[in-house]
């Protein structure tokens, strides 16, 4: 069974029972520079779980960010904690479409004074 509604923090396609654990795992990854987690900043473009593989498309706010690999590694680690052990995890960095402030969550926008 798959699910995807507009109220989700990012598009998700996969077993429903894994959706909340995935959101929770990624929400534990915090960018200390902005004091917000990567889900609230809107860095997660989407997650698909199919054929024994979890595929997350993520972006960064800057191509010059040296902590990109570290954040991706942390996303993998947090997903690794909560996902079934047989699932392969692949977090892929993409630059298109570019990140915009429209991707920030309501709580992130409140925190930043929008």
């Amino acid at each position: 069974m798959t699910s995807h509604t507009s109220s989700e923090p990012f598009p998700y396609d996969g077993p429903e029972e894994l959706q909340q654990p995935i959101v929770a795992a990624l929400s534990r990854v915090v960018d200390p520079e902005v004091a917000m987690n990567v889900v609230d900043v809107g860095l997660i473009y989407g997650v698909t779980v199919a054929d024994g593989k979890l595929h997350a498309l993520v972006t960064m706010t800057s191509a010059a960010c040296p902590v990109t690999e570290l954040l991706i590694e942390e996303m993998e680690t947090e997903l690794d904690r909560d996902m079934p052990p047989e699932l392969l995890i692949h977090v892929e960095l993409v630059w298109e479409p570019p990140w915009t402030t429209e991707r920030m969550s309501a709580s992130a926008r409140r925190f930043m004074g929008w």
């Binding site: 590694e73 680690t77 892929e92």
Partner: protein
Amino acid sequence: MDHRENERKRPTFHGMVSPPTPQRPARTVGATAKVYPWTPVVMVLGLLALLGGMAGGLLRAGVTLPSAFQPGSWVGNAAVTHGALMICGFMGTVIGIERAVAVKLRVAWLAPTASGLGGMGLLAGQTALGAGLLTAAAALFVGVNVVVVHRQRAAHTLLLLAGALAWLAGSLVFWLRPGNTASLPWWFAFLVVTVAAERLEMTRLMRRRPGAQLLLGLLLGAMAAGAALTIFAARAGGVLYGLALLLLALWLGVFDIARRTVMTSGLSRYMAVCLLGGYVWLAIAGGAWAGTALGLPLRDVALHALGLGFIVSMMMGHAPVILPAIARIKIQFNGLFYLPLAALHLSLLVRLGVGLDDSAWRGTGAVLNAVAIGLFAATMAGAALLWRTRTRSGKGPDKTS
């Protein structure tokens, strides 16, 4: 389907309700990131430039160094080229490493390697060779930033490129006109524009007032104009440069997200404190830079409020995040990080306040500046040990401190 480089077979935990937390970081670290074998070597070159630059700076401040650091040796060379060592040999190398890690291109490592070797050339008394290497490093760094702009064409990446060009301009002056201090405003512009670019990127998260980005561009343009003018008209150039720094500090104080993140906790709050404290010193540096151009005896205030108060404060704020990214050394942030930060700011008050018209206090302040930087290095080392200890003992990293 073939597996990508950063995919891995996940181990199973048959018979275990929950896998052991302490083993998880060790199992996952390095799954995606590359650690190049030359990273430690380039970092050591940068660190040697820092140590040499600090020893040279102490000598310039009139501090009597131990007999092992007698003038005439490499310390004499370090005193003569103190600014080049600190800005290009150390900061240029660190920023070059940062950018090389970000673009993930082997060729990008040539820039920090050249700046690190340039610093060694300066320490060895091979000033022309060192200056040539620093210029080559800056030119290579310009190329790396062209790659960044090509990947993401945005205001902040264009500013990063502008910062690299400022480094190149300063290094050309240093190389082609030895002894001409007009390289300094360009070199500082490299650092200031780089910080401003990174902060501009962050301010995107806030609702920005219309015209804020244009205003920043105008201020940085005025700073570049001031640096260029300094070569031909030191007085007018210095005043323009100083005013641009002062107004830039106000811009950062108004628009930076640090005003919001300082209300949080842990590492985020610490980083914000470093930033906001740095902006105060940036404003002081701007006023002192303009004052120096007008003939006031504020040169030490201008240079070190900027180089130590602003830049080193930024460095202290970002090192807990950057070091794990470039050296793969994880650290456990803790409240002790505020000690070297407080030491830095207090030692600057001694050096630039009490020491303004008292050379003995200025020397004492310079020694305390060095102590603050040493204390910070010790805090970082302790935080790395703490992370290892917590991970091995099964507690896992503490994300709340």
